[in-house]
């Protein structure tokens, strides 16, 4: 317990790095997936190959990606960029399916009504299609955010891993406390991030609360 008190600075620093390394890729991944998914719904032949390719990318082990990326990107092995790019790849490969499914879930009559009242395609995407796709996109976003938070610590094997560095520290010193602190904080971070996303989704889709029958938990 005294270890925690003596190392609050270190713990805080790793927590901050962990959050940064996990969340930045989610944001980047979302920025890439939405236009990509939109293009795939306009040119329907693109959708299935994109989803399949995403599935393959997602099955690559994270440690392999962390190590192979520097060779491809020309970055140093000990660079944060590798982790951010690797997790962004995971985010896009998983999210692309949800974006495509979400955009496909827009009912045709809703789309036609929007066209009929004069929405241009860009305006329609932002004002009609994306809001309707929010629940499906958020399902993927929640999975990928939680998975990213747990994957960041693997980076500690190559020397950059936020809370994961507490694991290697504890292991080297055969000392349980830092490992437990790392696991607990990592879990707490995942739980908190998930809660934030659920709340954000509720804020973004006020209509779902009105439609849901009383007593049904969405």
């Amino acid at each position: 317990m005294t270890w925690i008190g003596d190392n609050l600075g270190l713990i805080w620093e790793q927590l901050r790095e962990h959050l940064y390394l996990a969340i930045l890729p989610v944001i980047l991944g979302l920025i890439i997936s939405v236009p990509l998914g939109y293009v795939a719904t306009r040119y329907a032949w693109l959708a299935n190959p994109l989803i399949a390719f995403g599935g393959i990318l997602y099955s690559l082990p994270s440690i392999a990606l962390f190590i192979v990326l520097p060779a491809i990107l020309g970055t140093k092995v000990l660079s944060e960029v590798n982790i951010v790019v690797a997790l962004t790849i995971y985010t896009v490969s998983l999210l692309i399916r949800n974006v495509i499914d979400g955009l496909r879930s827009v009912p045709p009559d809703v789309r036609q009504s929007a066209i009929a009242v004069g929405y241009g395609s860009m305006h329609r995407l932002v004002a009609i299609d994306l809001p309707i796709a929010v629940p499906v996109i958020f399902t993927g976003l929640r999975v990928v955010t939680v998975a990213n938070i747990s994957m960041v610590s693997v980076g500690a094997v190559i020397g950059i891993g936020g809370l994961g560095e507490l694991f290697t520290l504890g292991f080297q010193k055969a000392f349980l406390t830092p490992v437990v602190v790392g696991v607990v904080l990592s879990l707490a971070l995942a739980l908190l991030a998930d809660f934030v996303l659920v709340t954000l989704q509720r804020v973004l889709t006020p209509w779902t609360r009105v439609v849901a029958p009383v007593g049904e938990v969405a």
Binding site: L60, I63, A64, V68, V77, F167, F171, L176
Partner: protein, 216 residues
Amino acid sequence: MWQFLTDSYNWSGNEGIWARIVEHLWYTFAALGLSVLIGLPIGLRIGHTRRGAFLAINTGNAARALPSLGLLMLAVLLTDQIGFLPVLIALVALGIPPILASTYAGLSGVDPATIDAARGMGMTGREILTKVEIPIGLPLIISGIRSATLQIVSTATIAALVSLGGLGRYVIDGLKLRDFPQMFTGALLVALMALLLDALFALIGRITVSPGLKTG
């Protein structure tokens, strides 16, 4: 890296690439086997009786948040030994939740009318489970085992951190020696193994799932 791969010396012997591949597969299948042995019956029981659904759904979600490296270190420090046991514990802890959750999901997705019909035909609970619920839930059950496999293959890499073998050796040793070709080789072989095992499970799914479920 090509040099490392094409040097026949690196392929043979106790510490050669073949030996590492066999070790890695052994860790993977030992852990996968145990995870199935534990996760599948629990998932089937919860799915069949619908009791404890809350547990099944939430272990699936919570497990995604478990940091694999932390779990491994925790297992090493708690068992107070370095070797196969802590690695097995950590891998099984990561393998059980996806199997349990998808097995439950596969069974709970079976249309209640189908189960009623089976009961109406006079099937016992056990017959309903083995002849109706499992076959219909099979695609999801297999996909759960598939994600468990991917998780275990990639995590088995860090077993080398606690001085075990497997393909992770190249990654960890390469990192210490600053021998990057060796690291890339290890990383690529792990990725390749993951893709091959993933394809294998896709194939198993295609072969075992009843043709009656494949329409549409």
